[in-house]
Symmetry: D2
Subunit: 264 residues, 4 copies
Amino acid sequence: MQDKQSEKDIRGVRIDRVGVKGLRHPIIVRDLAHKKQNTVATIAMAVDLPHHFKGTHMSRFIEVLNRHGRIVHVENIPDILLEMRKRLEAEYAHIHIEFPYFIEKKAPVTKSKGVLDYSASFTAHAYDSKNIDFVLGVTSSVTTLCPCSKAISMRGAHNQRGSVNIQTRSSKTIWIEEIIKVAEASASCELYSLLKRGDEKFVTEHAYDNPVFVEDLVRNVAVRLRKDKRMKWYRVEAENFESIHNHNAFAIVESAPWPARKSR
Amino acid sequence: MQDKQSEKDIRGVRIDRVGVKGLRHPIIVRDLAHKKQNTVATIAMAVDLPHHFKGTHMSRFIEVLNRHGRIVHVENIPDILLEMRKRLEAEYAHIHIEFPYFIEKKAPVTKSKGVLDYSASFTAHAYDSKNIDFVLGVTSSVTTLCPCSKAISMRGAHNQRGSVNIQTRSSKTIWIEEIIKVAEASASCELYSLLKRGDEKFVTEHAYDNPVFVEDLVRNVAVRLRKDKRMKWYRVEAENFESIHNHNAFAIVESAPWPARKSR
Amino acid sequence: MQDKQSEKDIRGVRIDRVGVKGLRHPIIVRDLAHKKQNTVATIAMAVDLPHHFKGTHMSRFIEVLNRHGRIVHVENIPDILLEMRKRLEAEYAHIHIEFPYFIEKKAPVTKSKGVLDYSASFTAHAYDSKNIDFVLGVTSSVTTLCPCSKAISMRGAHNQRGSVNIQTRSSKTIWIEEIIKVAEASASCELYSLLKRGDEKFVTEHAYDNPVFVEDLVRNVAVRLRKDKRMKWYRVEAENFESIHNHNAFAIVESAPWPARKSR
Amino acid sequence: MQDKQSEKDIRGVRIDRVGVKGLRHPIIVRDLAHKKQNTVATIAMAVDLPHHFKGTHMSRFIEVLNRHGRIVHVENIPDILLEMRKRLEAEYAHIHIEFPYFIEKKAPVTKSKGVLDYSASFTAHAYDSKNIDFVLGVTSSVTTLCPCSKAISMRGAHNQRGSVNIQTRSSKTIWIEEIIKVAEASASCELYSLLKRGDEKFVTEHAYDNPVFVEDLVRNVAVRLRKDKRMKWYRVEAENFESIHNHNAFAIVESAPWPARKSR
């Protein structure tokens, strides 16, 4: 049977990334409280393609992903990348895995238990057989209460749900739970799925006592991250779903531009 | 050339609706302040199909839509429906048009001008050549401040952006602007795109002085709508993007189930 | 502490549905091949509210959901509904659970294994302590190849990814896997995550040999469902992401309007 | 009234970008066929913030946007950026405007007219009062037919809707229409909103005669763009909504990494 993909290409255009995306797959992630957590990922996988090949072999991405069984264990990411390089005869390999992540929390006063959802991601690049660049991303929802609104108003202060995305590169493993704590401690208040009346009084007053602009939120995160010796790079983006506007406020801080190798 | 669509079908299954959806198109809508407003719609069009025909002729939906020029004028909806019935040899014809809609507003204190966006929709059904059922839908974003949080807390009260969708059938034309006023008057405060400090103080205090649950919001809308003699039917759905949770609160009130004819 | 929700309301507006939505939660679903499957759901829960109460107690929805542990087992849906009625002092209770669902499939020729994703939903209503209305929904992606394009063209035929949503009420339990089989057998070809060259030849020719309009797709499903004695009601909606247009074609067949009680 | 934003900040964290996003606004764009086109944009605006200021003044973004009237004319983008720098006392200013864009097309055989939608974007950065970096982005939907499927199959070939996003920096103005032509000429066939039977035969056979992998699509675009003397930089990303899988194939080519100044 003809192998169109392996035919010669004469246009002289190297492809930076070619692969699959939007692939939903069950995965198992390491979890600080329960050792492992079952969840569902959306996955992208890609390699580079030299200018002289017509196409890549897309089915091999799926084969590499499935090699370790029906459920992907994220500890296998380095192996997956190295197998991609080998099976697809590529120099560069890339994987991006996004998934909801759940933590059980106790309400601040009544200690009622509830499960709260976050979004996490693993983004990894292999440039050769040894060097893997790994980025952990975590998005946490929080409460933000406006310092200006509080300062100028006789009563009340507008507040809203906000979202904090933190991307990190580190010298040692960092838990998703650690990043979540940084995000939640940097906001006016953290969120809960279950709050009884005593808890609602607490979170209302706690947010009122800790107003933050979206600028304060990203700075509070940055201050915490730069104290952490394991941290090599971070990028923090916060967004407030303003309760007084129909648009959002946002802010971004990056530790320093990452000296990324050109993805070939 | 073969006409597959017109072939006989023997499965004995009448099709309730068949057509096109996800069609983006420029439209012109009537506007209370500027006479007309240019915007961009997402359109669905459908007809029924008797059990003995294999298929409908999809290109005719687009021909009917284009008949009146490059831009669709919404006053032509009844004509469009009747042409669909005729051109597609159908008894039942249906169109749904959704679009962003803009209103210029003045800030409450400084009177600074800004443009605020809403979403509106026209949903129309023709069951025969005379009877057209027309539903106007408007989604407005608003502020909601929690009455419970205010009552039990020593200071502050959680508030958030909420969304109110109002669907109406009426005996006389109702303006999109009228429905928006009903939604905004029923919430803790309306939204603005531009607020200077004096305005922000006003909206903060106004929301604090007018707390509403999501239940209050739909009831306030219902009370206003049932006083309006033009109103034949309404359905109100409100959703709060809770600032203390990562899930939303919602409520629905319908005036009474609409005696809809089966769409054949 | 004040209980605002329990205060009297004098507006005289009964609320049809009030509750929470957009709640992400880990769940366990029954799975034909592996007995159970871990996945992640988006959940809505609601009750009715008599006209004389100001508000419902939103935290109780979460308490009911959490009662059976950190992960929701879908077998508990009837219990969850009855507890909602009791704890929230409501006549009507409603839950909607949507989640991705995975099946391992073998490629048609090489028998290579891969995991394919679907979307499923459980929608349940309790009107009193005995009668629970349960709707199973399954969305499957498929290939559709256009019969008209094939008939009129000298070579080739346009085809595309399509989506089939099937909602059913049945007298006995139906497996998600059974509904998926009906959807896939009704299309031009089913989808796979992993196809080697021999498989790709097979699915290309199989689709070419089995052209279906979006109308054929919903009818093929309807014909299969009405032969199933367990089936009490169904609604089928198919949508083709047309490869020759930037809009979609769709069709809907409903067995007969369901005699739904007013959601009281 | 207190000006919280202007207070001193001692955390020592410069903010790379702070501003508003998700702002919907009516705009007018230059159009090759009709001189100007009314459409609806989603806008983000941001500036940098030195480490010693607590916050930026969000309302000023909206004031700058509104300065030129109720509808934004995109020719004013350089002025808008320079005003942002001035009013917000910033060194760096950024704006991103995304909008649907419409072109009237004639069907290839019957010459029937229809309107087709694209998505376009303007992304601009001002680093000082003179240097404005401007990126034009255009996303076009197209047909792609698989060369491998065609080569190995006895009849037919799988095809699907694909999407091509082209980002460019150029030394002279480039029309949105020019970029669309490049994208459409690089695919198996272009899309139309209205196709009669004779047209459908043409597009089916034309796609079958011009198979392209997603790799071919980005390379065909790159070959065309690098011949254009006005072009200083480009990035092309194509995505195929595979008709035989439930995931997508994608490819990316960038002319060369852009020597972006750190956004300060």
